[in-house]
């Protein structure tokens, strides 16, 4: 068989502030080819990309390496490395079988010889701030063939990083209790939609916010007791009406965090999972918090976290409990196919990062099929 085109998504240029621009910072490169039958595997295996998962942490990987954050950064000129579901098409590795589905960090290109080299950060801890996480260590892991019980895209959502994030944050950080009131910002996101459902399973009252009426409807369908569109009703007005809150799951920061500080009860707990409300806004233009003195007045516990910190402690419990609940239909996972070809990928990343975007459900791009 003749070589085929092997399209890849390249991190061409670092966005200085604000959102990355498709075609400028993130580009499609169709100049590579690959001979699927003869490319040397060197004892590894060849994967085909099926479902790509644009996720907020990708913005952190685009930052200048001199800025401290929780993750390593992308290499300019190399392929974007991020989460995807792949299938094995050839293998020289005994424990990896052809037809096996896998999920994890991989270069965003149609076909990859694994373990991949291009785009991988050669991680030397002393060259990064202490605590920086080597994102490339989240290598591909085998996942079960769902055999039609759920779509493969579920591995990018409730059974993937967003689901794991919601699960470890709820168990390890927030520790929600029956009859408490929880507020979750960006409740229609991949993480937020599972937070709502896990909180309801614990018997909590849930207030959820998002940026469109369609998302409000979606959050109510997941069991949220109160949901509001922050573009129509301010965070403060809504929390005054539906609160006060015992616990806050924050994916947004900015006005959401400030209102939670104002309308939380003493000794409330805040799990800070994201800051989408400021991440893509130039530093000097960002919302500035008015109510930080409440941290002391109300004796709050506020914790920022990222999922890798908790994987060792909670991964086993997650895989024991969550896939079964999904297969039984007790947990809903909604994915939104925002693209079906490689051309769509750069824009899908930019769109996902835009605060207040209109995509209901976890955005995915389905670039291949079995």
């Amino acid at each position: 068989m003749a070589p085929v085109t092997n399209p890849r998504i390249v991190f061409k240029e670092r966005p200085q502030e604000g959102l990355p621009i498709a075609g400028k910072h993130i580009v499609l490169d169709s100049s590579h080819t690959i001979d699927l039958e003869n490319v040397p595997l060197n004892g590894g295996y060849l994967t085909k990309s099926l479902v790509l998962s644009p996720e907020p942490a990708m913005r952190e990987r685009m930052r200048d390496p001199s800025i401290t954050s929780y993750t390593t950064t992308y290499i300019t000129g190399a392929p974007i490395v991020a989460f995807a579901v792949v299938v094995v098409v050839r293998s020289e590795k005994e424990e990896v079988k052809v037809g096996q589905y896998m999920y994890g960090q991989t270069p965003w290109e149609a076909y990859t010889v694994q373990p991949y080299i291009e785009g991988r950060v050669k991680f030397e801890p002393d060259q990064w701030a202490p605590g920086t996480f080597d994102m490339d260590s989240l290598v591909l892991q085998p996942v079960p063939d769902p055999k039609g019980a759920y779509p493969l895209s579920t591995y990018t959502n409730i059974l993937g990083t967003p689901g794991m994030t919601a699960f470890v944050g709820m168990e390890g950080v927030l520790q929600g209790k029956k009859d408490e009131t929880l507020f979750v910002s960006s409740g229609a996101s991949g993480v937020g939609s599972l937070v709502i459902q896990l909180a309801k399973m614990k018997g909590m009252k849930v207030i959820a916010s998002a940026g469109s009426d369609a998302k409000v409807k979606f959050m109510l369908s997941l069991g949220a007791d109160n949901a509001f569109n922050y573009k129509k009703e301010s965070y403060g007005e809504a929390l005054k009406k539906y609160g006060p809150i015992h616990a806050f799951w924050d994916n947004v920061g900015a006005e959401a965090l400030d209102a939670a500080l104002e309308f939380c009860l003493p000794q409330a707990r805040f799990a800070i999972c994201g800051a989408s409300g400021t991440d893509s806004i130039p530093y000097d233009d960002r919302y500035r918090l008015k109510n930080a003195s409440q941290i002391q007045k109300k004796r709050l516990k506020i914790q920022g976290f990222v999922v890798p910190d908790y994987i060792p402690q909670f991964a086993a419990q997650f895989f024991q409990e969550v896939p079964a609940l999904v297969a039984q239909g007790k947990l809903k996972s909604k994915e939104n196919t925002v693209g079906e070809k490689w051309d769509d990928v750069p824009q899908s990343i930019a769109d996902m990062l835009k605060s207040g975007h209109d995509i209901v459900g976890k955005p995915v791009v389905t670039v291949g099929s079995v």
Copy 2:
């Protein structure tokens, strides 16, 4: 013996925002008298006030009761109730002996029949936000006669609430470790001066800030490795030079907290003990935080606390360790007598609350002697 004048400090009017004004919100009332030999004790005991301890929490007690905070509020028209060292001058209570020194919450007046009634909040938990602490429950406790080993004022400082606050915050919240770098704001305060010393005993590197050169000198004398006057060098400049920090003890909030967010290491811990940088500033004029998104990026643990939450867990350890270290001279307690008569008391409260005041050492007013 004829009745004597019994001066008292009255909480006359609630300050709406900003600092209380001596003579307006807090006034001396010299119209009362007391017959020391014949006043009925009703099975209680009569105390004489010796050393009064103006403390920041008094500002919280002056707020409008509709505003949620950690403590109950003062009753207008009643005496100010706050921390003091007293001596027992008469007693009908078997376990309380004449000549016994006591320390705790008591009305600020020359003589008081204990247990006191005026100024005490009749605490009904369901009338306060959950978690509101009944400050009046911190009743007088016997303290040993120091017999010249240290002045009685030490009970208002390292052996009192500031000392207990520093101790429980270091053991229960911050959990400082050897070789870590700690930044403490308002390091010359009662709390801050013990935080510096406890951190040095743990083998930490300590950066400390305060608002005058005299305080910088004092903090260095306590063992701080780096100390700076934030009126001459910004928090950001200083932390850039002396940091980054593993841990932050915050008594100030505002610019200090914002700079700590910027110059802390990933997974740093913040113990939030006070917010003197914003407490006395009208809400709309307060400093607004720029760097809150670092909570997630750096996976920070930030906890506000007040000392009563930790007394059950740490009181025994405190009284086992700290008085001995003070008597041995291994911990220094510096008090500053800012007044020696009842006339001085209202202004001493206002001065203590003023952010960036010039008083080196814990302010005390010595209103009586044995």
